[in-house]
């Protein structure tokens, strides 16, 4: 069995560990935080509950070892996933310790949401071993992972990284240009900024914005992204005609994108109170269960939908082929 080393737990690292385990990898886990194992077990319980509901024939679960030393964790591992706090000096220090103990052939993936691989590789004697492998929460269910190598990572290593990620049921998207925050989080930040303005200016509440998303374009984007949606909406006149119409709109003063809203105490308190009202007493644990039950239902709905679920079907088929 291949072995994954998880360096840094929390919600993200623990979910990486759970995904590797459930897809049959052996896992070694390291996080010096006192509650790290509690979080790991909580996330692993959730993953064990939900993942078998979207994969018909999972392999036997791998073995889990919680390590006391980082060096024991990474020695001999095939994949090392770093999920430490989002501060470059911390990541540099951890990567240095990892590389002092791991095999030169191992792949080191970083969960960083913001840093570029060349930043992570600074000062490393083996930069070709480090790449970004940025997942999305909940990592045990959402298939997406952004892979960002820099120019120093050889192509065969990139392909091995992609194969490893497919092996644990993920859909790697490899970005050939480095950019802070990669792709998904840039799109999310654009939405977030505009949403903050809408709240701050009293145009809509958090619940109204969420309802417009979940009953509108969220339903589109669960199955066709921005461009394929517009291609479809453009109709027989074609994408070029559609785009040529779109141009002028970008000059309209719709979005308040040119300003950064000040996320001050007043705005934080407004969002918190609206979000409390929206939750209507549901705990975060209940919200997590709702989210995961819905994700399972949607993934299965798309899996069983012959024509359009190709991507999901291919993903799951590749896992099943390994049995």
């Amino acid at each position: 069995m291949p072995t994954a080393a998880i360096v840094g737990g929390g919600v993200i690292g623990s979910a990486w560990a759970s995904r590797f385990l459930l897809y049959g990898w052996d896992v070694r886990f390291f996080d010096p935080a006192p509650n790290a194992e509690v979080v790991l077990n909580k996330v692993l319980d959730k993953a064990r509950r939900w993942v078998p509901q979207i994969i018909d024939t999972l392999p036997s679960e791998g073995s889990l070892t919680v390590c006391r030393e980082l060096s024991d964790t990474v020695a001999g591992a095939d994949w090392i996933q770093e999920s430490t706090p989002e501060r470059l000096e911390i990541k540099h220090a951890v990567l240095r310790q990892i590389q002092a103990a791991c095999a030169p052939t191992a792949i080191i993936g970083s969960s960083t949401s913001g840093f570029m691989p060349s930043e992570l590789q600074e000062g490393s004697g083996r930069p070709e071993q480090i790449l970004v492998a940025h997942p999305y929460n909940p990592v045990y269910l959402l298939p997406i992972v952004e892979v960002v190598p820099s120019a120093v990572v050889p192509e065969d290593r990139v392909q091995r990284a992609e194969a490893n990620l497919r092996d644990i049921g993920m859909k790697p998207i490899t970005l050939r240009a480095e950019i802070p925050a990669h792709v998904g989080d840039r799109l999310l930040e654009a939405v977030w900024r505009e949403a903050l303005w809408l709240i701050k200016d009293g145009v809509a509440t958090t619940e109204q914005i969420d309802d417009i998303m979940t009953h509108g374009f969220g339903l589109r984007w669960a199955q066709k992204g921005l461009f394929e949606t517009y291609r479809t909406a453009g109709g027989e006149a074609g994408m070029k005609h559609f785009l040529e119409q779109f141009g002028p709109c970008l000059q309209w003063p719709w979005t308040k994108l040119t300003d950064v809203p000040d996320l001050d105490d007043d705005l934080i308190n407004l969002i918190v109170s609206q979000s409390d009202a929206q939750a209507a007493g549901r705990s975060v644990s209940e919200l997590e269960d709702e989210r995961d039950a819905n994700l399972v239902a949607i993934l299965n709905a798309l899996r069983h939908e012959d024509r359009a679920a190709g991507a999901f079907l291919n993903q799951l088929a590749s896992v099943e082929a390994r049995q």
Copy 2:
């Protein structure tokens, strides 16, 4: 049976007509364009195929009358839906003709994606009758509709509008502040602008951006919006703690929101060629069928998911209660 008058066809107006018909309203339809009936019948065929798959007990379909005169279309109608081109002088002229012939008690909804209700009401003798009712494509399946009255629309009329929209299976979100492009399209434009930069700068292709959406945050937003997703991700530490961490990120130079990308011929051609590659020969009609089959599958998955599909269940229950 209540009667809806559809003024202006195309994809949007025809889908409004289809939705009203399938939910049991009588419909009068007016569009002077030579191919208007062809488009209407095409959209109606699709709606007849898909809508019964998400509603267990639809009422009998209403009767459809295609009118030659605008005045015959709107006389005596309970709801008039205007879906003419997005130019204010056209909308003013059409609204003037509508109000010359319709009952003062009727509700006039405009499908405008950009204009504010007070702009539409300019120069009208009965401005209190006009409001924005902005739907999302495909209108026969997506439940969302943004209702924007201005201050001159009385509350009982707003409530009647909401009840009418619920009667045809929609989820009205009433916005109490006017703003160009309302809420959903502002969020969409924010994503669109950032996506254009990512394409233009060669960071990702249309297919990669779409894959990151459909295998990542699109799956989240089909069931929980931006704020509830972050509330959930924030964990037990709470929304306030989560927001306080988020603040500094907004100062990071992640998004290129401060500039408007120039959607010039080069960028249009780049997007078109990437979109062609992504479609891999599938026609727009095939893409529409994929989209609708997926939407039906997702809506049913959420409907049958006890805990979290409250909103959808409530919607569909309200339709069924009317039988």
